[in-house]
Symmetry: C2
Subunit: 418 residues, 2 copies
């Protein structure tokens, strides 16, 4: 007969317990800083970002070619071209002074502003210059073809990014695009690591027989950094109630940490020390004692004065796995982010429509990923490649290979998430 | 008829061109620094790491219980227990002075050193203390059961990590475990970004009609940082051959950058400026002019004085996609890492053997992932959870859910890569 040592909780119960007992809003409300967007990558927004103006703010050519009235190209073909009069050339970065009338064209480069009267751009490839002032057009162009409309990237008043969003490269770009150089974000949570165990010595020391070097301070410190927190290394504390309690109080007061991780104490005696300390630090005290995870069962979670304190197993593997399950998402949570365990970079999804692609090139399609029932869908986000907002809206990219002609609706695709 | 503007290269051709023309060894040889392992996360090793001693270095208990001679437990059951004499208790972190003889047992905690004569640990749960000096054992224990052997985590002389390996949390832990506090790594490559385009103004400015803010400096700067490089922001340069050339020479000399990224110049005129500059900077000059990727076709790659210089398209989306395809892996390469495009966090693989799991707990199994033909396999790495080396050898983790009894050989599993 095996005696159960303690009653274990499921991972979901641990998360529910954290949610129920932590007054999160209180923590993050006082944790806002403003930084330059050049150092805001992977940080969590503490403000909502709204477009204060249209982007690009004027009708812009998406191609090299001629700005025309689309109507003047209607019906044009290789065998029956249209002829237009060249009345000038658009200079980049200035408002064009000229305007075009029926039958006229203006030379324009990618990014140039359309002159008054023009409503389309015909690509250079579909034109031929006949003489100094005449071009031949061999293709019918629709109104606004090859043009980025003035509000096509962003519309004034549109919500671009929400509070709690984790800033990716493209998000930094959109902030630059609207002139938002400084941005309010949540501070990185400071997390102390304390190793316990009388057999543990500092990593720089030379262990005598029976001693081992402190591994957990280093793995957990790196895990904290990787997860977006700031590690505070408090070293090794002997397995004594008074010293451990003092050390925790000290790091909370001196380092102003928001979370404390104690590792070690997998043996019953040491676990009892940790347990006693965690119950003496404040209300509500120890909430979880043992989890149904292997490896990682002897995990303790306490909350004292609205601060989570974890007692992780001493085994490095168990400590890392438990960190991953509970501390990693908590670090996002403490920055106003979503509490999701999964941070996968690639997922399989079902394409929501046919996608055409030319053979002989790799196509990268921006997609928005969403779930309906148990199925994950990837919905292509269409839009010109000059539109940063399409990248902001997208969850990731799918690739259509060099020799693939296209993908059918319902195909399984691999989405490379941002 | 559409006139081809230039001959395009496939993504593979771009990578081959980089490999063939860049004298990589020359660059990385002079790019080594030594840092404390606390700041070495995600950096690339510039030295091979070899175990200088066994880890843990002594036979260690993996459980709380009694150190015994396994032979003394042979045949013990609930109905026919063995009786052993308690001759003392092991103190943590010191070499035990006592030794045990046949019929004797010593109390021991997880992590404690086995005394001379003992070759197994019987778990507390399978024993009962009869009086002050006698325990009853109700289970037969094999030799070395519940013991971490002295060289089970690492063997003296074993290669732990190879040059060019990217350090993960568990790798930092193993370095601590062997007392390797300072480690040689490759410097992060410095990469300059220059935006071109006469319509582009600094992000902090107020655009007049016809002007747009500089987005690419910011997205690419963030991409560089995310990929492990150090961005050097050189701002916006007008589309003139002399100024652009001066700026590139300046950033190479002043900032000592290893790569230059020019973005913008999607229009023919500006592209011609970039092209002329890149051909004037040194040998071999422009190697790629156009790639078969959509979006991103008008990409230029030059090498001058053993330094890659990219001309990325001006469209932010295209610039990011091309960055991802060619610059991101190059940043790994410049640090001695592998040149792989894919940095997925989750992959599907086929399990190589049956895995048993108890219902009512989540199991996390360390696996080594490898490819054979077109198939990807996940091979479980067995070993106690105290062994940091198992995490070092593992590629990732698979999870066996709370209510799953186990997985059969050949099952499809999702591997969460480190």
């Amino acid at each position: 007969m095996v005696k159960p040592l303690f009653k274990v909780s499921t991972p979901n119960e641990v998360i529910t317990t954290l949610k129920d007992h932590l007054r999160l809003k209180e923590i993050i409300r006082n944790n806002i800083e403003e930084v330059n967007i050049k150092i805001a990558l992977h940080r969590f927004l503490a403000e909502e970002i709204v477009a204060s103006a249209n982007l690009p703010g004027f009708n812009r050519s998406a191609m090299d070619g001629y700005a025309i009235r689309a109507e003047d190209s209607f019906g044009a073909t290789d065998s029956l071209p249209s002829y237009l009069k060249i009345v000038g050339e658009i200079k980049m970065g200035v408002t064009p002074e000229l305007k075009i009338n029926p039958g006229e064209a203006v030379k324009i480069s990618t990014g140039g502003m359309l002159p008054e009267g023009a409503n389309a751009v015909v690509m250079l490839e579909y034109t031929e210059q006949i003489d100094d002032s005449t071009i031949e057009i061999r293709k019918s162009i629709s109104p606004w073809e090859n043009v980025v409309r003035e509000d096509e990237d962003l519309k004034t008043g549109e919500i671009i990014l929400r509070k709690g969003h984790r800033l990716r490269s493209q998000d930094i770009g959109v902030l630059a695009g609207i002139g938002k150089i400084n941005v309010k974000i949540y501070r990185k949570p400071k997390i102390a690591t304390i190793s316990t165990g009388n057999e543990i010595i500092p990593a720089e020391g030379e262990p005598r027989t029976g001693q081992v070097r402190d591994i957990n301070s280093y793995t957990l410190g790196a895990c904290i950094e990787e997860a977006g927190g700031v590690p505070v290394y408090r070293g090794i504390i002997k397995d004594e109630v008074i010293r451990l309690k003092q050390e925790i109080k000290k790091t909370i007061k001196e380092d102003k940490v928001e979370v404390v991780i104690i590792s070690g104490g997998s043996s019953v005696g040491v676990r009892d020390v940790t347990l006693e300390v965690l119950n003496r630090l404040g209300k509500p005290g120890v909430l979880i004692h043992g989890v149904s995870v292997k490896p990682g069962k002897p995990t303790i979670l306490a909350i004292a004065d609205n601060r989570p304190i974890f007692g992780l197993p001493g085994h490095p593997v168990s400590a890392m796995i438990i960190f991953d399950l509970f501390v990693r998402p908590l670090i996002r949570w403490l920055q106003g982010g979503e509490y999701n365990y999964n941070s996968a970079q690639e997922i399989e999804a079902e394409l929501t429509c046919n996608m055409v692609s030319d053979s002989g090139r790799e196509d990268y399609i921006r997609v928005f990923v969403y779930k309906e029932g148990e199925k994950i869908y990837a919905e292509p986000i269409l839009g010109k490649s000059g539109l940063i907002s399409t990248m902001v809206r997208a969850s990731g990219l799918i690739k259509i290979g060099l020799n693939v002609e296209g993908l059918e609706k319902g195909s399984k695709v691999i989405v490379r998430l941002f």
